[in-house]
Symmetry: C2
Subunit: 112 residues, 2 copies
DNA sequence: TCGTTTTATCGTATATTTGCGATATAGGAT
DNA sequence: ATCCTATATCGCAAATATACGATAAAACGA
């Protein structure tokens, strides 16, 4: 694909797409659910719960971290992750805004 | 990657990931916005608006259609697309449910 | 110090996504 | 019938994503 064209779209659309991509794999959704459930921000326990190899889980955690959805701190020999709730709110809001704006736009027409 | 493991996750997580993937590219978000704005469910006008080749746009439209987010009808020599609002509501609700359930789970702990 | 445990990263294989040009198809106009 | 327009699909190339095993790094205990 020569050069990918993603950067030619609006910042907002790129950001939304980026957010959506962060949760576009069931493993990452499952990880978020586990993190939300656990009182301690467990680490390798996620590996036990998911049907994936340790290295693969680590990769998904890295992606969620890059996206901003989770925070990771080193705790001795292990890593401790938890949901970045502050960011999560922004994330949530962003989706709601998209959905609302689409609906709002549609109110001016009678397409459906 | 030998065999991809997506099907080993819960139906719900797979569905959510699938939904997220549908809007994980700025072109598809842009298409949804255009469709929501237009009073007639335009077709190739989308190509004019997006910085992509006709064939690429057609492919994104197909993906949105496969995901269920848009409907396409043939209108003479051209294709007419519009947002599938009924499905859109389900889509919207699914995300809200995920976000709410994550927050609800977190209320039992003090991780953050 | 040496081994153990835990996790990140590297290298690699394969699958999927993205993108485009070329072509096919189908309807409408002349 | 022939041409034109609009769109879908095919074939291909390149980029990304997914997955794993092997290995590296880091902290802890014996």
């Amino acid at each position: 694909m020569a050069i990918h064209k993603k950067e030619e779209f609006s910042q907002k659309d790129q950001e939304l797409a980026f957010f959506a991509k962060a949760i576009s794999h069931p493993a990452r959704i499952a990880i978020l659910k586990v993190l939300a459930e656990q009182s301690e921000c467990i680490c390798g326990k996620i590996v036990d719960v998911l049907p994936l190899a340790q290295s693969t889980v680590s990769q998904h955690l890295k992606e969620l971290k890059t996206a901003g959805l989770i925070l990771g701190t080193i705790d001795g020999p292990r890593s401790c992750y938890c949901i970045n709730w502050e960011f999560f709110e922004k994330f949530n809001l962003e989706f709601n805004t998209l959905f609302k704006s689409l609906k709002a736009k549609s109110e001016n027409n009678s397409c459906d």
